[in-house]
Symmetry: C2
Subunit: 384 residues, 2 copies
């Protein structure tokens, strides 16, 4: 195992009827808040109403900003920062999915500095101070509710970048699985694929492989997500499935899985983000396309790793590493397809050249300088 | 899944050569500290020297208290509280195993109140404020380095009790697996058994069983501990094994495993603590005796649970739940025996009557009023 530092300060309030606690949680921190949300689904499903009632009961004043997009943009983030500064808010309350929370983190950081918040994403500055953040999660996938990461898109340049800092961990995240009852079925699929990919990145790329605890942690959550995704699409109001999904997605990306595995990287996220920034491909859909192309390349040098994974997740007992790796990849691709998630660039009408160029542009900023245009075109040969 | 709140604020600094960071971590919190340790093993293995050099480098002043016992006592805790008050320390630094850290937590709580610290354990008062605690862990087992729990023994009454509060989470815990190289082999065995039991308690007694994430989390860590315990006793200086043990024991009892399983209890800890308080039985040894008696009773009503566990941990593929349960219990007992840990009361020369009486005395305070003297005698029939 490699040296690591682990600290996760987020308080999770999980379960049915927990949203009415949001006012009290906010009141511990401040008096005036910026309430951030998306395009109105929180108004349709009753979450917004529960939140504002609780805020009112706690005697909090607020300003509101709606309209956060599925892949949140720098321009909209700027609006939030301006508003937070002008209205002198004490904290930000994000109500929504990963996009809303990611943009909220950018606002929390940007509101405390004079320079452009994009500088943080470009690694020109570090976040040392940020407004406190509380969130009510209404869509599980990204794990942002229990980590210090955020990803946004600079739509002027078409670059989607992430950053992570201790100051950006939410103070409190409220997770009520019933908020997931009304999400569209494809979002359930994408959420399961996203959480799975979070675990796969470190599982595949970690430098230290004498990590049985981390392996089993990842394998256990992935197996669970694979088991529940289909049934959950068929039974969207099954509380047991929804709560497993919600907590599983959080555990997948809260820092536990990669602790001790040493250096690791997120190649599939890099590749997927380029699809999203160019074609607005849903994040989960972009990841199933990325993995379907990336895993066969990876399997050439590390078939043993895929064999271990296939055994743990899909009960594949093939002894030959190479054959087992192929069977494991096939099983993942069949799973993606069974959920209706794309596995080729063709399905999203991507221009391979433009896409590969965008990946190569972002790659150095993701710490993957080897991901050149040529390499990406090679990876996706046959997928276009 | 049941509703829950999860928050774990402890910062873990894990790995080789991390002890020299202790001074800097302490300096962030205060200037004058109480350094608490045990009976001198930290002086023999060089840890004490590393710690005081780091404290001196950071310009911190300190008072010291040594002599913490393996099952820490209320009387020694009182000494620490007196000293902390008299010397007006800002924080407590515990250097040692679970006993030292548990006593340190009691000192942190007791130093902030005028009443007897034992009142907290007797549930007559709640800990709302405590001195901050930092620790350097030198023995893995109890998980106290990443939770708010503490257990001490009132040697005047022979009662061993625990309490848990948010204010008692260590601020920072430094875990260097190399500190485990020199622990006696039986402590390695007991540590693995203790961590395993932490996971088994919730696994067996949780009220909600639609918890695949929690099940796999527990099964994965237990399987790992079962695999590494023997090899680690044969190769005490194997870093890979030691680091897996150290992190595994922390993960086993940091609140993740039982989150969402609803109400649960710790019957084997209750039973084991009575052995320790009466006969000074090492904690891990007392747990292997408790489990060997408790599991067969439990299996009568919940064989399916033991079947699932046996499959995940020992690859037992027996389909009949009752037979599978018996095989699983046998596998655990054989594992305990292979590590040299006792599995009967006879081996520790316990007086069954006195022992059963002590369990019954403590049981209501552990939330297990059904654990009467008669029930305990029934459980251990044949073990005496």
């Amino acid at each position: 195992m490699q040296n690591f530092v682990y600290r996760n300060t987020t308080k999770i309030i999980f379960g049915r009827n927990t949203i009415p606690q949001v006012g009290e949680e906010c009141r511990k921190i401040g008096k005036r808040l910026l309430l951030l949300y998306g395009k109105g689904s929180v108004k349709r499903n009753g979450v917004y109403e529960q939140v504002v009632r609780s805020l009112d009961d706690a005697g909090l004043s607020r300003v509101e900003l709606d309209g956060v997009k599925a892949n949140p943009t720098l321009a909209h983030t700027h609006l939030g920062i301006e508003l937070a500064k002008k209205e002198n808010v004490d904290l930000v309350l994000a109500v929504g999915g990963g996009s809303v929370i990611d943009e909220a983190k950018a606002i929390c950081a940007g509101a405390c500095v004079d320079h452009d918040v994009w500088d943080f994403y470009m690694q020109k500055a570090a976040v040392v101070k940020a407004l406190p953040l509380i969130d009510v999660l209404t869509m599980s996938a990204t794990g942002t509710e229990m980590n210090g990461g955020t990803v946004i898109t600079n739509e002027a340049t078409g670059v989607k970048l992430g950053m992570g800092f201790d100051a950006l961990y939410p103070r409190t995240s409220i997770l009520d699985p019933e908020t997931l009852y009304s999400i569209p079925p494809e979002q359930t699929a994408y959420g399961c694929i996203d959480a799975t990919t979070h675990l796969l990145e470190g599982y595949f790329t970690g430098e230290d492989r004498s990590t049985p605890l981390q392996d089993r942690y990842a394998e256990g959550i992935i197996r669970t997500l694979v088991e529940i995704a289909g049934p959950m699409m068929d039974n969207p109001r099954d509380y047991s499935l929804r709560s497993t999904f919600m907590w599983g997605a959080t555990l997948a990306w809260n820092g536990t899985a990669p602790s001790g595995i040493g250096n690791w990287s997120t190649p599939n996220h890099l590749i997927g983000h380029s699809m999203s920034s160019l074609y607005d491909t849903p994040h989960g859909a972009s990841l199933s396309i990325a993995l379907a192309a990336w895993m066969p390349w990876y399997a050439k040098s590390r078939p043993e790793r895929l064999r271990q994974l296939g055994k743990a997740v899909f009960d594949i007992h093939e002894a030959d590493p190479s054959r087992a790796a192929t069977q494991t990849i096939d099983a993942f691709v069949r799973w993606f397809q069974s959920l209706g998630s794309p596995t080729t660039l063709k399905e999203i009408d991507a221009d391979p050249d433009a896409f590969a160029e965008n990946v190569a542009l972002c790659a150095p900023l993701w710490g993957l300088p080897g991901y050149s245009k040529e390499f990406i075109l090679e990876l996706f040969r046959g997928s276009c």
